[in-house]
Symmetry: C2
Subunit: 409 residues, 2 copies
């Protein structure tokens, strides 16, 4: 009988308990022994719960019990989660977490700490919820060099963009529905709609791909607040969909580039058809070519099932599995990672006649004009050139209201 | 330095050597030590090869060298591969293989033998080529009960069906091109076009899902030879595509069903958009919901990179990883596994007036009529009912030329 503890009994934490119980038999078969939740750490009062006996408010209870081999962290955030996870690893416990913020911020440090203490630090559920992404990436693609990642990794914004496209909704209307369905936070939906959640996830995948820590603070991150019905319509005319894409490109001469931004995705690209709350991550391996992992992103049981799979791994393998799930610490750099690429672009411009745009913005074509705005597709430009175009339009008394890079096929 | 041996220096075997050399540094980092190919077993003469010194014609050379910890089997077939793999496992070597025929035929036995000798038997590359399918299935979905699998697992037939659809080609024309491109065997393309290759792959996935050996001989298997331009056209009218689907359904009361057949896939289903040589496997976990793994199926380096990833795993983990990658032996049953489901169907009928079909085949509608044939969509029927319909049409002097089940959304 393997004993584990759960820290944080919110949505995912309670899901972990449920998964462990509902699939007890098959989990036992795969782990080689039954898995039992012995403690649940939570500051809130659960004395009325049928599982009241499992609850503790003190981490020391868990640390003092030598029977506990693996600790699940589902507190979220970093304030408590980070010191608690450190203590668990230092005490010789493996830790499995769904906490992307903590992994994106302290991943290299916690991986090193786990290695030092001969235990596992696993976080499959931190990207893609229940959809397997991190494990196939570091394990099945172990013989590949991963040069590119492009993903739809935030289900909430993908749901909203799908609504906007299918039902001609505004951003505000789509957000309202996402909040009513519990997909977006009611108080502050910024983590989702401003791209911070996607940023943490691509920080984790980029770190794993390039082998050293990539900080969320260094990743240029833009959400979907500026997308309007006009943009959605223009995208359709361009046989494309607008998607919030988290991307990584190893570049040449280790000039790694990484970003989160809404992009124009041609319908011929598989990511264009990924709708609703689904996530999909495309990776390019040098031996393998493109591979895509696709599934429903979040949700209590999907995410919990990924955490439990990590628990099974941790119980079986201890530290040995982690030669491939590892990246080195790196100093935080100043400012944002630059994107040196040349792309096709979509811009929406106010206050400048559409007829002038070819002169101002270079070769391309007007996609549509309405309500005093013009949507224009630029054939090829770098990020710097787009900034120059923005300046020129300002000089003409206009304004660039939105810029979307086009994702390559 | 970890030493390995390769048995069989064909396409995949030579790819394994190439991958090991080209990505030596990252493989070493992930395996925890450099990986070197010490022997290559092949009956053919390679004395002119720059690697001539590595070649041996005798398995005993490999078995006698205690330095060799992992053996790669890429001979193919079962005649030599099976006894050689047995000997390797019995001698305490882990084996990594891409050989679906061997795994589908002797998987349970070889897994048990590996467990008995404390070594690993790994075969990620046997399904989906380089695309990770088996590892995420048994490892990341370890906390899930897998109730359904639907996959496009044969790249050759998928390429042919794509050609037939896009370019209005006949089966024969599409086969010719597939042969010219080296996707299909020139001498006997039957393994691909008659579904035997797909059958072996779904036998492996079904065995892993249900926990006991599922024999290819018990799987109802039908290929794509009977698909005509008319069918492709009718499928388009039904907003669907014809795909060769390998499927598994756990059913109720352990009435597991499994099959390989061309199916009518509605365009709303993600598998409809999987074109060319790509593979995609959809799995349904009870906790996770649907998840899809997608990538280019075959190819020398993709497949080899999956074998090498298994080698890295075997070097790291030995036998412990395999509590989840395991299924039990089972007696071969008599005849084929029955499919008790009720489906919508597409039938193409010769020699019976289309107007009669609603009476003969039950509720549905005529999709198109041409060249004395009628394509008819049946709203709902079981496999047994389809056989009854076939009989009725024969009584009327007609013939059912093709039957396609419709894949549920």
């Amino acid at each position: 009988m393997a004993k584990i503890a759960i820290m944080g009994f919110g949505t995912v934490g309670s899901g972990v308990l449920e998964v462990c119980r509902r699939n007890a038999a098959s989990i036992a078969r795969r782990a080689g022994e039954p898995v039992e939740v012995k403690y649940i750490l939570d500051v809130r009062d659960f004395s009325d719960s049928p599982d009241a006996a499992l609850f503790t408010k003190s981490l020391d209870t868990i640390l003092a019990d030598p029977e506990v081999k693996v600790v699940v962290e589902t507190i979220g955030g970093t304030k408590f989660a980070y010191p608690y996870v450190r203590q668990c690893l230092e005490s010789g416990r493996s830790v499995c977490t769904s906490n992307k913020e903590m992994v994106a911020t302290y991943g290299a440090e916690l991986l090193a700490l786990a290695r030092e203490h001969g235990v596992a630090f696993l976080f499959e559920a931190s990207v893609g919820g229940g959809t397997p992404i991190i494990t196939p990436m570091h394990q099945c693609l172990a013989a590949n060099h991963i040069s590119r990642i492009q993903g739809i990794v935030n289900g909430t914004t993908n749901f909203m963009l799908t609504k906007m496209k299918r039902e001609n909704m505004s951003f505000e209307e789509a957000l309202k529905i996402a909040q009513q369905l519990g997909y977006a936070e009611t108080k502050d939906p910024g983590d989702d709609v401003d791209g911070r959640d996607a940023c943490r996830k691509i920080a984790i995948l980029a770190s794993l791909a390039c082998g050293h820590h990539v900080y969320p603070d260094n990743i240029s991150t833009r959400g979907i607040r500026d997308i309007t019905v006009t943009d959605v319509k223009a995208a359709e005319k361009l046989d494309s969909a607008i998607k919030l894409i988290a991307w990584y490109d190893e570049g040449t001469d280790s000039q790694m580039a990484v970003g989160v931004e809404p992009m124009l995705v041609p319908n011929s690209n598989q990511l264009a058809g990924v709708d609703d709350v689904f996530n999909a991550v495309l990776m390019q391996g040098d031996m393998l070519g493109d591979v895509v992992f696709y599934g429903k992103g979040a949700g209590k049981l999907p995410t919990a099932s990924a955490v439990v799979a990590d628990v099974i791994d941790a119980l079986k393998d201890g530290v040995k599995v982690h030669d491939s799930l590892f990246w080195k610490p790196a100093p935080k750099r100043e400012g944002l990672v630059k994107d040196p690429g040349t792309y096709a672009w979509y811009i929406r411009v106010r206050g400048v006649a559409a007829a002038l745009l070819p002169n101002v913005a270079g070769p391309g074509h007007v996609v549509l004009e309405e309500n005093g705005e013009a949507a224009y597709r630029i054939d090829a430009a770098t990020v710097d050139q787009i900034e120059e175009i923005r300046g020129k339009i300002r000089v003409l008394g206009g304004e660039v209201a939105l810029v979307l890079k086009q994702l390559a096929d």
